[in-house]
Structure formats: structure tokens, C-alpha cells
């Protein structure tokens, strides 16, 4: 074990006492520093901006209305300062090299409203669900619920494991994006919690490892053509765009459809309400991912936009061909319990598979609608069969 020989407590106290501001305060000189007298930046000072006033609306103090009322627009580029985007700084202030520092790299037109909506629609897995209304189910159905939920529990690890990586790389000039991604992490953690509790609540238990990580099996280095590998791996903006496609726009949209079907198939008030709550959260994440892609593709510099579009189509093709996220649609440990839940019993399993076929067609259609909305229509490019291939 390393000995702590940096300095003694006495030496530390002496060092602090010698600091200029501490000396000044010890001498009873309480004259405030430059923060107290500096003028706003637009008058040449180091203070940020001044004179803001905002009264709460019926939503409360909402960023949506505050930003709308603020005469200073969201900047196109961050400064690397760890201060509010309208804050000031001494010339000596540290500037950090946040790699996601351009607005088009992180923004979406709806991120501010989505964050406020997320805050207003938070809920507790412990106390906001009618756990007392869980009803005993036939063993085969409880087994199917547990296996399905076991998959959903695992899939929640993906964004919580990966989102913080990007959050820490976003310039503080765009706090709304960081806040929204934080709310998404909170959502995903709650989903993980509720699925975990559900598995243990009604006579069943956690099932078989469902290979949910297939969504992340896609790696840019191994999947992209060489010329795009260089562009993407050296450009975190494109990397984040690829991530938004893979996780938020495609992966979570697919999971959103699973949740919607979970509500559809739920046979007791608890399962219905659990999926309805989760569905609301997941729809926000998909909405952000889709609209961020649209913002990036519309606002990136022209040459980057072209590269981004090429990259997005390429990774979409990989995914659609079953190379990553869409492989969930043909994963037996997910789709078979899903079919059994739709059937209601093994005796009716054919009917369940008919529902799965409807699910497939619905999911592909919703995905194609989103691709168009995000600015990369795939109507004539999509490699996914429109109808279930079984």
C-alpha cells in the first residue's frame, strides 16, 4: 500500500492560509472579487449576461418557454467552458476540448420539450404500479412473461451502459441535451428495476439469457467500409449519429413496439399498466433519436452531411439484414414467448404466431416511417422483409 506522504495536516493548513484570498479574508478585507463588479460580456466585462427575468407559467419554470423568451439563441458551437452558455469567464478560465461541441452534432428540435415532459412524467417502479393487482397465471404464461421480461431487463443495460459515454463529451453549451440523456438514463434504470421486480413477483423467475446485446454487436470498425471507418472513428459527431440510429431510432423503436405489444398482450391490470408506463418513456427516447438524426442531416456542413447520409444508409442495411438490432425479431428466446403470450396458451399457438406476423409488418412500417422523417427514406432500400418470413 502506498504511504500518504504528500504533506502533514499542519503543512496543509499553512499552505491554505497563504493563499491570497484567504490572507485577505484573515485580514478582514471582505471586498468581493471581480465577479461583483464586472460588466456583462457584451459591455466588455467577464460577467455573462444580466437582466433575465421569467415568471412561471402553468407548467412551472419550463426550459421551453424560458428559451423562447431568451433573446440569445442556442449557439452553433460551444466554447468548452464549464459555465452556462450565457455565462462569462476570466481570460484564464480553463477551456475543455468537448468533442461534441457543435449544435448539429447533438441537438434535436424537440429536445427541450422532451426533457420537460420526461421530468413531468417520472414514476416509481416501487409505488406507482398496482403490484397488488398482479394475478396468478397459468405456468406456461408466467414462464413466457418471465422470459420476455428477462429479455427486456437485459436490453435496458444497453443505453445505461453507453449513454454516459456520449453525455460526458457534449459541450456544456447544450445542457438540454445532457439533461435529456440523463432523464433517459433514469428511465432505463427504472425499466430495469421494474422488469427485475416483475420476474420475482408472480411465481416465476428470471429465464434464459436472451442475447439482447445483439443490438450492440454491430461495431463500426468491423462493419463499415474502410473509407467510412476512417471518417467515423475520427469524428465523434458521426459516431454519435450512428449510435442514435442504432440505439435510439432503431433499437429503442423496436423495443417500443415490444412494449406496445406487451401492453396489448397483458392479461392483468398490472402488466397492462407496467407496459403503458414504460411505453411512454420509450417513445420519448425514440422521438429524440429520430429528430436528432433529422437535425444532424439537415444542419451538418455539406460534405459531412453526404458522408453521414452514406454511413446511415450503410448501417441501416447491416441492421435490416439481421446483422444487429433487427436480429431481435428472429431471436427464439424473445419471439417464442412473445407468440405464446399472444396465443394465451400452447393450444392456441398458431393464433399467437399470426399476431407475431402482424407485429412484424407493423414494426417494419413504423420503422420506415421514422427513417423518412429522420431524413433518410428507405422505402426502396430496406432489406427487411415487409412481411414476416415465417
Amino acid at each position: 500500500m502506498m504511504a500518504h506522504t504528500l504533506m502533514t495536516a499542519k503543512e496543509s493548513a499553512e499552505r491554505i492560509a497563504k493563499l491570497p484570498q484567504v490572507k485577505r479574508w484573515r485580514e478582514k478585507n471582505y471586498e468581493p472579487g471581480s465577479w461583483f463588479t464586472s460588466k456583462p460580456a457584451e459591455e466588455g466585462g467577464t460577467w455573462g449576461s444580466w437582466g433575465h427575468r421569467f415568471a412561471p407559467t402553468k407548467r412551472g419554470m419550463s426550459f421551453v418557454e424560458m428559451n423562447r423568451a431568451d433573446p440569445h439563441p442556442v449557439p452553433e458551437e460551444g466554447t468548452g467552458l464549464t459555465v452556462d452558455r450565457e455565462g462569462g469567464a476570466e481570460p484564464s478560465a480553463a477551456r475543455y476540448d468537448y468533442p461534441l461541441n457543435k449544435k448539429y452534432q447533438v441537438w434535436s428540435s424537440n429536445v427541450v420539450g422532451l426533457y420537460e415532459e420526461a421530468v413531468s412524467r417520472q414514476w416509481s417502479a416501487t409505488s406507482d404500479l398496482p403490484w397488488d393487482q398482479l394475478e396468478p397465471m397459468p405456468e406456461e404464461l408466467e414462464r413466457a412473461v418471465c422470459q420476455f421480461v428477462c429479455f427486456l431487463h437485459a436490453v435496458e443495460f444497453i443505453p445505461t451502459d453507453t449513454l454516459p459515454y456520449y453525455m460526458t463529451r457534449i459541450d456544456p453549451a447544450f445542457p438540454e441535451v445532457r439533461l435529456f440523456l440523463s432523464s433517459q438514463c433514469a428511465d432505463e434504470a427504472r425499466h430495469m428495476e421494474v422488469f427485475n421486480k416483475r420476474m420475482f413477483a408472480n411465481g416465476g423467475g428470471p429465464g434464459v439469457e436472451p442475447m439482447a446485446a445483439a443490438i450492440l454487436e454491430f461495431t463500426q470498425e468491423s462493419s463499415l467500409p474502410r473509407e467510412l471507418q476512417i471518417n467515423v472513428t475520427s469524428d465523434i459527431g458521426l459516431e454519435f449519429l450512428a449510435y442514435c440510429y442504432q440505439v435510439q431510432m432503431m433499437g429503442e423503436a423496436l423495443v417500443l413496439d415490444f412494449f406496445r405489444f406487451g401492453e396489448f398482450l397483458g392479461r392483468n391490470p398490472f402488466d397492462k399498466e407496467m407496459f403503458r408506463r414504460i411505453m411512454q418513456d420509450e417513445a420519448r427516447h425514440v422521438s429524440f433519436g429520430t429528430m436528432h438524426m433529422k437535425y444532424h442531416l439537415e444542419n451538418a456542413p455539406k460534405d459531412e452531411r453526404e458522408r453521414a447520409l452514406e454511413m446511415v444508409h450503410f448501417i441501416a442495411s447491416i441492421s435490416e439484414a439481421g446483422g444487429s438490432g433487427f436480429s431481435l425479431l428472429i431471436n427464439p428466446s424473445i419471439i417464442e414467448p412473445f407468440a405464446l403470450l399472444a396465443a394465451g396458451s400452447m393450444g392456441n399457438i398458431e393464433r399467437g404466431w399470426d399476431k407475431v406476423r402482424e407485429f412484424w409488418a407493423h414494426t417494419v412500417q413504423a420503422y420506415l416511417n421514422r427513417c423518412e422523417l429522420a431524413g433518410f427514406p428507405r422505402w426502396d432500400k430496406c432489406l427487411l422483409p415487409r412481411e414476416a418470413p415465417f
Binding site: S120, Q122, G266, R267, M279, A283, S287
Partner: protein, 154 residues
């Protein structure tokens, strides 16, 4: 509002009755979170209903601020975020189910009825605006579930 007075469906009075029930329970809707939509509820003719009917409802934060009976030429101009559409027969079945159980049972929730686009259909011009229906579904389900308190006649 006297909920014991029979209220005809479809009618603007029926949707206004739901509106009143929502607005008298702000705390309940506050707990559910913001709901912001221009919604259009469409009832297709048939089963005794002679013409299609459409009602525009505005949800704003925790309240329901407007209900309008929209004529055949007004529905598109209403610019809804989402449209919830079904036959008169299917609307009746849903409302009667809500009345019978105090809220929609497992087979009659909005998501259950609309997911496969039958018997209800949810659509709109812009998928992101339609997604509000999913993002805020608890609030819209509660809105419909308020029909449990109404003596609905047809």
C-alpha cells in the same frame, strides 16, 4: 356537471362532459404529467349513425381546454397531432366496456384497440406528432376512462 343525466354519443356534449371531468381533477392529471395534443376523435358512420362525426379536443398541460364539433370540411383544417378513428359500433363497445368496469378492461385499452390499426386506427400527418399519443398515453386513457362516470346513450 350532473353525470346522471343521459348524454348522447357521439355529441359535443359527451366530449365536453369528459372535459369537465378532467378539469375538475387537476391533481390527478398533474401526477400523470404534461399532456399536450390537438386530438381528433373520429366516429365512422354505420350501425344507426348516418354520417361520420369528428370532434377536436385540445389537451394543454394538465387540462382539456377546448372541445369542438368539427364538420366534414373542418377536420383537416383542425390540424390534429393525431386522429383516433373507429366505427360507431367499436366506439360503443369501448364506451360500454369502460362504463361496465369503471375503466377500460384488458381488451379495451386505447393501445390494445389501436395497435394493429383495427378496430381503432391511430394516425396523423406527422409520425412525431402521432408519437405524442404514445408518449402521453396514460393521460388520454384516463380521459376516455372518465366515460365510466357518464350515463351514455346512443
Amino acid at each position: 356537471m350532473n353525470v346522471n343525466v343521459p348524454t348522447k354519443f357521439p355529441s359535443v356534449e359527451w366530449f365536453q362532459a369528459l372535459q369537465e371531468l378532467v378539469n375538475s381533477q387537476e391533481e390527478k392529471y398533474r401526477r400523470l404529467g404534461y399532456a399536450d395534443s390537438r386530438a381528433l376523435f373520429r366516429i365512422k358512420a354505420g350501425d344507426g349513425l348516418k354520417t361520420d362525426r369528428a370532434f377536436g379536443v385540445i389537451f394543454d398541460v394538465y387540462s382539456c381546454t377546448e372541445v369542438r364539433d368539427l364538420g366534414p370540411d373542418e377536420a383537416d383544417a383542425w390540424d390534429p397531432d393525431w386522429v383516433l378513428e373507429a366505427s360507431f359500433t367499436d366506439w360503443k363497445e369501448m364506451i360500454e366496456n369502460v362504463r361496465a368496469h369503471g375503466r377500460a378492461d384488458s381488451d379495451h385499452t386505447l393501445n390494445r384497440l389501436s395497435l394493429l390499426q383495427h378496430p381503432f386506427r391511430i394516425y396523423g400527418a406527422d409520425q412525431m406528432r402521432v408519437d405524442q399519443f404514445y408518449r402521453q398515453q396514460f393521460s388520454y386513457q384516463e380521459f376516455i376512462d372518465e366515460a365510466a362516470a357518464l350515463d351514455t346513450v346512443y
